[in-house]
């Protein structure tokens, strides 16, 4: 109010001085006096108020809990209004306020934001092998696959709450293949509901199918430098993933028990045992054969041409220090061996972990994980002799590269395999692990008997011990030895040294 008076007086004064230079000096002096008085009163008031503020500030400082060395920026948010007894906190003795320093931080007002949690994980390998066909020996898409250095997985993950209803996650992934070419792909991008009623959860987008333990996880979380043979062979080098939707239900049981059903597209290289194909070998000249025959063009025509993947998981806390998680999964869908052939994959998985109730930084621990899979692949009858005259005519392609004509009968090819791995965290940051792998056809296919073994089905096994050191939760160095034995090819030895680092937001550990 007073300020406004001063302003109007002074502006009147200015106007007067400009417009009427010859005004009576009496009036001018009177106005000047008034102005001086008003200015004095104004300054006095300001001074009084400043003193009051300082006094109040001192009282506040005296009442605050002691925090030696804490900077003023560390002042906590006001206690929630719902706290009735905050005033009952006894006052601590006053602490002298640290003198102002130019190095003191400046508090920028405003809350913290977590719209997007961003992280980047890099996984590299160096090593060598006695095998010459590293793309076949190391079948997983993110396995170390070169003598020398491999970029196994460069993964950028975006994660966050979309709104009150969804959580979103996307991972962009790059890696080098066995010929040294770099591939970049959007591996996953999905939204997941946060609180549907009745224990339901819906996930939609592109995601790794929740089949067993290994498939839905990313390579940097694995206990080994490479994918298990059986999951790489049955679910594909890139794992089983595609666009789709998944519903899961947390059953109202006293223990953890969850039922999943995913419906996804069944085509592309990420549906390897289904309408797979294409992918990395697509650009190459020549013919990609799957189980001795060419894959056919097959469109999605009915609902039944999609991929259906149910899973059931159950967990029990066996004791204060032991947890068991059991699961059974399946994946059903069409394959492109023929127009109406299909594939069924079944799996069971087990995970057991012991971690004492007085662990330090998560160590020591022992974990055991095993998965066994069975794949039944309906292979259609096939012939590269379209007109059936028994010879390769000029308009019939030399699919097998040897000028031969082959007539393959339709048959169901059943394969099974398993892996079992034990990891032992024997002191903080140190883990020793051992994995055994085995994969084999239940019986040889007729096409194999007729035309020779198919290395995509041939029996093979692997023993892989390794030692991993985690300097912190955000880096690891791993040394692994693989003893591989492949029917028709014999044994091979490989040694891989793996390095991982993680930048960005803390990745929470799933069980």
């Amino acid at each position: 109010m007073k300020l406004r008076t001063i302003l109007s007086v002074s502006s009147a004064l200015c106007l007067g001085a400009v417009a009427l230079p010859a005004q009576e000096t009496d009036q001018l002096q009177q106005l000047q006096r008034q102005l001086r008085q008003l200015q004095e009163t104004f300054e006095k008031t300001i001074q009084q108020q400043r003193q009051q503020i300082e006094a109040l500030q001192k009282q506040i400082d005296a009442l605050q809990p002691r925090a030696p060395g804490a900077a003023p920026a560390a002042t906590p948010p006001a206690p929630p209004t719902a706290v009735p007894a905050a005033s009952s906190t006894p006052a601590a003795p006053p602490v002298p306020k640290p003198p102002w320093s130019p190095a003191a931080p400046i508090q920028v007002l405003g809350g913290q934001r977590a719209y997007l949690n961003l992280s980047f994980d890099a996984l590299f390998a160096a090593g060598g092998s006695t095998a010459d066909d590293l793309d076949q020996l190391q079948f997983g898409g993110h396995d170390p696959n070169q003598r020398g250095f491999t970029v196994q997985n460069l993964e950028t993950v975006f994660e966050g709450k979309v709104d009150p209803y969804f959580r979103g996650q996307a991972s962009l992934v790059g890696h080098t293949d066995a010929s040294g070419d770099f591939h970049f792909e959007a591996e996953e991008a999905y939204a997941e509901t946060l609180a549907l009623p009745q224990g339901l959860q819906l996930k939609a987008g592109q995601f790794l199918t929740e089949f067993g333990r290994m498939n839905p996880t990313h390579p940097h979380t694995w206990n080994f430098a490479d994918a298990p043979l059986v999951t790489a062979r049955f679910l594909g080098p890139e794992g089983l993933r595609n666009p789709g939707a998944r519903l899961s239900w947390l059953t109202p049981t006293p223990f953890y028990s969850e039922l999943f059903l995913a419906v996804q597209d069944s085509q592309g290289e990420t549906a390897y045992s289904f309408r797979g194909g294409g992918g990395h070998s697509h650009e190459e000249e020549g013919h990609e054969l799957f189980f001795g025959r060419e894959r056919v063009e097959r469109d999605t025509e009915t609902l039944g041409d999609l991929l259906f993947a149910p899973r059931y998981a159950v967990s029990f806390d066996l004791s204060d220090s032991q947890t068991l998680l059991l699961g059974t999964s399946a994946a059903f869908g069409p394959n492109n061996s023929g127009e109406d052939t299909c594939t069924q994959i079944y799996g069971v998985d087990l995970f057991w972990k012991w971690k004492p109730a007085d662990h330090h930084g998560g160590f020591p621990f022992v974990s055991w994980q095993t998965e066994a899979l069975l794949r039944c692949y309906q292979a259609d009858a096939y012939s590269n002799d379209a007109n059936g005259n028994g010879i390769l005519d000029p308009d019939e392609e030399d699919v097998f590269g040897d000028g031969s004509v082959r007539n393959l009968a339709g048959e169901t090819l059943a394969d099974w395999g398993l892996y079992s791995e034990v990891a032992c965290g024997f002191r903080k940051g140190w883990v020793a692990a051992l994995r055994g792998d085995y994969v084999t056809p239940q019986k040889l296919g007729q096409y194999e008997l007729d035309y020779g073994p198919d290395l995509d089905r041939a029996t093979r096994w692997r023993i892989a011990p390794n030692l991993t050191w985690y300097p912190s939760e955000f880096s690891k160095i791993r040394l692994q030895y693989n003893y591989d034995y492949r029917d028709h090819l014999g044994p091979d030895h490989s040694v891989w040294l793996q390095l991982e680092f993680l930048l960005g937001s803390h990745a929470a550990h799933k069980f």
Partner: protein
């Protein structure tokens, strides 16, 4: 069809009536929050704790059974300040429970309203180790923070269960009175040692030391969450000798070898002090955590006759 609808609505009504009388289902991340909640909620609440008092609270396994537990929770009492960041988020995300999602009525972050120590005043990066950008999260080891936690819980319970508001408030008063009496006792016991310098393993005891006037002059970890290195220990020992530090305090779950070596080299005593309720057979509730810690530390610091 009508009968089905009728029986469904009957079941729903029964369910509603039942849940109105049922106890509030509280899930606490740490046993100390659970212990305080039990004091305030009494027989009107059911409390389940995720972390065990004996384990390292930064590295709890996200066991699937906790998803089930969180799915049923009316209230989630979490520490906040990123203490549980390594294991809680996937559990809450999978619990499908709208009552405990961020800012829902049952979402309680107990760090709110507390004056956290060691809030970084510079930009934090991971070369500094596991520094918590929001401040040191081991705040329940200051009994006065326990009072704020209790008030926070009582306020929340009163809000969710107005019928029993008086009961919760009375329990809070009782809790505060008991804690005030105990605090006077602990302060008296610790008074002779005000200003005594000690060494700890991890930055777990800052709030305790701050309340009872101990000075933490060194840490066995070179940086938070980073295992001790020979270089750091060889630097710590002469510093301890120079400033005459005679006590090393560690949590029972820490490895003993390095602390024992440090204690031996400096002539200091090594004392195991659980930092959470249930961390030792003699720390069954929130009060006895301090009873035990004060007894252990004052006994160790008492000059030998």
């Amino acid at each position: 069809m009508k009968t089905i609808i009728r029986s469904i609505s009957l079941a729903a009504a029964l369910g509603a009536a039942f849940s109105a009388q049922a106890k509030l289902n509280l899930v606490a991340t740490l046993p100390d929050f659970g212990a305080i909640a039990e004091q305030i909620g009494g027989d009107q609440v059911k409390v389940t704790c995720i972390c065990r008092g004996t384990e390292d609270p930064h590295f709890v396994d996200a066991r699937p059974s906790f998803i089930r537990v969180l799915n049923q929770a009316d209230v989630l009492l979490e520490g906040g300040a990123e203490l549980e960041i390594g294991w809680l988020p996937p559990l809450v995300n999978n619990a499908r429970n709208g009552r405990i999602l961020r800012d829902a009525p049952g979402d309680v972050r107990l760090c709110e309203g507390l004056h956290l120590l060691e809030v970084p005043t510079t930009t934090v990066d991971r070369s500094m180790g596991d520094v918590h950008p929001l401040g040191n999260p081991h705040y329940w080891l200051d009994p006065l923070n326990g009072k704020v936690i209790a008030a926070h819980i009582a306020g929340k319970l009163g809000q969710l269960d107005p019928a029993n508001r008086g009961f919760y408030h009375a329990n809070l008063q009782k809790f505060n009175e008991r804690l005030d009496a105990k605090l006077a006792e602990w302060t008296r016991q610790m008074e002779p040692f005000r200003g005594t310098k000690i060494v700890t393993y991890h930055k777990s005891f800052e709030y305790f030391a701050d309340r009872f006037g101990l000075v933490i002059a060194g840490v066995i970890e070179p940086r938070p969450g980073i295992e001790p290195t020979p270089g750091h220990i060889n630097d710590l020992i002469p510093r301890m000798k120079a400033s005459g530090i005679k006590l090393v305090v560690i949590e029972p779950f820490r490895p003993r070898k390095t602390p024992e070596y440090v204690a031996q080299a400096t002539g200091a005593k090594l004392v195991l002090v659980p930092v959470m309720t249930g961390g030792h057979e003699r720390t069954k509730d929130y009060f006895s955590v301090f009873d035990y810690a004060v007894a252990q530390i004052s006994a160790a610091l008492k000059p030998s006759p």
